[in-house]
Symmetry: C2
Subunit: 408 residues, 2 copies
């Protein structure tokens, strides 16, 4: 009897997660080892609630192509940490649907679910496999060279910064622009915002990542110095920058809300620094919070990112065919010039709950060698434009899986 | 003796203003009536300061193509209202450079400069002509069917809203998203953000334009009602929405700064409404301020907008050749299906200091006939993608006029 597969998506949205889902679906169809392809609505929450749907209406080439070009999560998402008492319930539902392999696509927290669920099933001698497929715009998963979704967000930040630079320098007036970029604990995305400078340009003059302690005095001093020689100063600042004591910059002015994994909900370091510059320097100042666009702007998706995201989904099916469980798929960079990658599977314990930060060797962002290394790392990931299938109004068509199955 | 021409750019940036500048340059070269093409850095401020440069190094086909695809203002901009004592100074500089025609590209305030300067020169029997070319993302200039720059911003808003919708509805959690859109006094851009709904979609359920009094109670009531039938409510709200008393919504929480034309500097209606929903409804709520991206995101430029912007620049030169002065060029829509326009010149007095608002017949945005009319008006303007010339990193190349001439 053939087994079925189940796909779930979890964590924050990205431009590439649906592409990985399409890769899994494509390879599962081609493998001949699996019968039905099911999707869990809202990740493990959907598994717990039995919100599981048959994905066969979405397996045509046309639907898969739409899935690849659709941002965010076609099955919905969740930020659910399974409690110890919930594993048996998950197993029960997987058994009920005859699931042989559960593919879970997500970031650090989702890999914690893959780790614990696969251990639970192994301890019970269950044949059900659990395979993790990485996804996060933050690029903060260890082992893998980079994460699916990061390249598109990095491309968005590079292009957007390029445009903001032109927008900012048009008036003959001293002004400071602070661009707040996502990345709670790691500065990968902020580095992408710094690319115009790393590639030899003037802007942004300040690039602040969470890995390097933020010093307000030094920040203001750099701005003052730059304003002596030109009108415009642009700063790319991670939402997660911290003081040397480890406190988020401007923390007292922020909301302080905490998500279910205990992460402090961040917003407003840009606004905080805007007020600081306004008070201490007094020139024109604007903060720009790029907000969700940096994770959902599929119109600027990196072709490399989407192609690789499909591929890693396909390779996840091969890992399942090989009998693996409790693993996460990773990219290994095999060459910088020409850029090439290989994909393999690693024990998810090497990834779950761990964060890959910007390495210490790169902390001096004004060093020419560091700039060159950052460019060598980032530029291949943001390469290539997509040519989405559009409707008659010129807008990319999206797949509609959930609207058929959910009324609310 | 041949005359020279001078081009100045003024007001806020847009994706299309450099395209109009390119159109003027192209037609002036082809006309044979003009010798040098000069550019004033920072609009009339550059004229007053004698910051005038020869644009001949930028007249090649290659440089003009880069100019068309460069956002913001290649000559820099200003927000300068000429004082009565400054007109003679402007005339003196124009005479000194042998300028026959001064092309001024800008919005409402810039057209006030065209009006007053052309009147001043006429009264002094000066042969110097002044021609206005419209530019504003706000689409708030009268007479013209639409303004250069609006189509690209509208396209950005339509695409971005499309992506925000997908990003917002992934969690099975009640949530409200408030998208703050530019438009101080007119709701044209906000209508573009509402296109997904006008075209038959669910989102955004609320579209609030400054022309229609904003009622906080009704706003909260609509959100509560919508949350009864689905998880996600999305609101497209103009930065300039006002209460029935004419006060900006949440005015007391805003900065209150005023620009040199006396306009109140707006920011934060999104944040204000976020706090309101949080306090009164208590569900998850996020505000997104699209900020400068809606005026500088040339990667989403509308081909129709850029093509027309070049054309209106070229037609401005023809109007100059025909001896006109004190006019602004306008688009006249000659047909909706197929969409066609003609370009002619009108007395700038019909435009200067006047604002074109969303017409009263469109105030009921839930009316099917109104939705259809809005789509008929907007959809042709956002049509077509550009294929920019890119560098080896995949980013569009920009023209660099000012960097050659300015050290700060």
């Amino acid at each position: 009897m053939k087994k079925h597969i189940l796909i779930g998506l979890s964590g924050g949205p990205s431009v590439a997660i649906n592409a990985s889902m399409a890769g899994v679906m494509k390879a599962a169809m081609e493998s001949g080892q699996y019968d039905h392809i099911y999707g869990a609505l809202h990740g493990v929450e959907g598994v717990l609630n039995g919100d599981i749907i048959d994905l066969s209406p979405f397996c045509s080439d046309e639907q898969l192509a739409l899935l690849v070009q659709t941002p965010a999560m076609a099955l919905g998402s969740c930020r659910k940490k399974l409690s110890p008492e919930e594993f048996w319930k998950v197993e029960e539902v997987l058994l009920q649907y005859g699931i042989g392999v559960f593919f879970y696509i997500g970031g650090n927290d989702s890999m914690d679910t893959v780790l614990k669920l696969s251990r639970y099933l192994r301890e019970k001698n269950s044949p059900i496999q659990v395979i993790g497929v990485p996804k996060t715009i933050d690029n903060d998963l260890p082992v893998t060279d980079h994460t699916p979704g990061f390249g598109s967000s990095a491309k968005y930040l590079y292009h957007t910064m390029h445009e903001i630079i032109r927008d900012s320098e048009i008036y003959p007036v001293k002004n400071v622009v602070i661009v707040e970029i996502m990345g709670r604990n790691s500065g990968w995305l902020t580095l992408a915002g710094g690319l115009p400078m790393f590639l030899g340009g003037v802007y942004p003059q300040i690039v602040s990542i969470p890995e390097v302690a933020f010093d307000e005095k030094a920040f203001l001093e750099t701005i003052r110095k730059e304003l002596n020689t030109r009108h415009t100063v642009i700063c790319a600042v991670s939402e997660g920058v911290r003081t040397k004591d480890g406190n988020y910059v401007g923390m007292e002015t922020k909301s302080g809300a905490v998500d279910s994994f205990g992460h402090v909900y961040l917003s407003g370091v840009g606004k905080y620094l805007e007020m600081l510059v306004n008070r201490e320097i007094g020139c024109k100042v604007r903060s720009i919070e790029l907000n969700v666009l940096q994770r959902c702007a599929s119109h600027l998706a990196s072709k490399t990112d989407l192609d690789e995201a499909v591929l890693i989904g396909q390779e996840a099916v091969k890992a399942a065919e090989a009998g693996q469980t409790g693993v996460m798929m990773v990219y290994r960079r095999t060459s910088d010039a020409p850029y090439t990658i290989a994909i393999d599977a690693v024990d998810v314990a090497k990834v779950a709950n761990l964060e890959k930060k910007v390495p210490q060797e790169w902390f001096n962002l004004n060093d020419e060698e560091v700039k060159a290394q950052i460019c060598t790392y980032l530029l291949p990931l943001i390469k290539g434009d997509i040519s989405p299938v559009c409707d008659e109004t010129g807008i990319p068509r999206y797949v509609n899986i959930r609207s058929i199955h959910e009324t609310k």
